[in-house]
Amino acid sequence: LDEVKDPKKEESFEEVIERYLPRIFNLVYYRVEDYEEARDLTQDIFLKAFKAYPSFKGNSSPYTWLYRIALNHTTNYLKKRGRMKNVSLDEIFEKNPESFGYTEDFKSELREEHIREKVMQLPHIYRDVIVLFYFESMSIDEISRLLNVPQGTVKSRLSRGREVLSRWLKELWEKI
């Protein structure tokens, strides 16, 4: 791995793995919704990245570069698996999300888990921007460049995604 350390780049590939593995895994898991698949895909992504690392020019941060590989790889995977579909907002709102299972000893951890679940249920176009914006703390500009869509589109997806989440989480709100 030392061999792939490029003096122009600040980090060796091992350092790249060390630094970004948790974030890439998190992103992949939110996209594929399966822990084992996320594990395998994350490994694939880093292998792809390893092969491509010598040609990585360092123009963007390794973080953005890795995210692009991760997004492309998981998108291809989801398309192959037939899990990438466009759903209209009306269809989403018609969904009747299950109860949050509120109990007297409702804990913040449980609340977090419910919110995670709801994020997972979002259509991909909304889920991606929610994950990147909130969990990865990316700016609208960064997301726009990463997803190759205008900033207005990112904002619109973010707003719609939040709108859907709000409706789904209304019950939770009322119980706390």
């Binding site: 793995i17 395998d40 973010l158 989440l165």
Partner: protein
């Protein structure tokens, strides 16, 4: 220029961006919020969701994943993907079974030469003192198949035979091309090459219809 005041439906759409700090011009919404208690409650609710989303702990990668990736990048490319293919494991499984069977077969103890076993054999044909037609004259002798280290000799009367001797897995079949009419002794001698031990098996038969002496 006075903008048209927002209604609740319009305000609701802007609230997520507002709490996320992404609204370019929050003034119209803020104006609406001053006069609408329901939308203020929505803002409060959105802030709660916003705060929770921003502080959600990420999913942690499975233990050992980093080590697996490091191992995989050190392996020849493509191997890591290969090992996750069901067909790969089917192949490995089949190959393993074949190898185990082959190993078992090869390791199967060969029939040990029973060095201590006695020299054994039996004349199956002809029976003692049999009367047989010359054309039917033959010898069928079976001896210990587990003793390949023994020499087998077939004799007719006082000399070694010159006819056809077929030997397959301890079974000797001798057929004479021609034989005289009269009494004949046919016998087999087994000899252990290592110990020099010998054993003979004889038959005396009367042949009819052969060449007259």
């Amino acid at each position: 220029m006075n903008k048209k005041p927002l209604n609740c439906e319009e305000a609701e759409r802007l609230i997520p961006l507002y709490v996320a700090g992404l609204l370019d011009d929050p003034a119209p919404l803020e104006a609406h919020l001053k006069t609408c208690r329901a939308c203020r409650e929505k803002v409060e609710r959105e802030r709660f969701i916003e705060d929770t989303l921003r502080t959600l702990k990420p999913y942690q990668p499975p233990p050992g994943l980093k080590e697996d990736i490091l191992k995989a990048v050190k392996r020849p490319h493509g191997f890591s993907r290969l090992v996750r293919q069901p067909l790969f494991w089917t192949f490995i499984g089949t190959a393993t079974v074949i190898l185990i069977l082959a190993a078992l077969f090869l390791a199967k103890p060969k029939p040990k030469l029973l060095e201590a076993a006695p020299l054994t054999g039996e004349v199956l044909f002809p029976t003692q003192d049999a009367v047989i037609l010359a054309k039917d004259f033959k010898l069928v002798f079976v001896y210990a198949p587990e003793r390949p280290d023994i020499d087998v000799s077939v004799y007719l009367d006082d000399g070694e035979i010159t006819g056809t001797v077929k030997s397959v897995d301890g079974l000797i079949v001798y057929q004479s091309p021609k034989i005289d009419e009269g009494y004949h002794k046919i016998w087999v001698r087994l000899k252990d090459r290592k110990t020099g031990e010998e054993k003979e098996f004889q038959r005396l038969v009367y042949v009819i219809g052969g060449e007259k002496k």
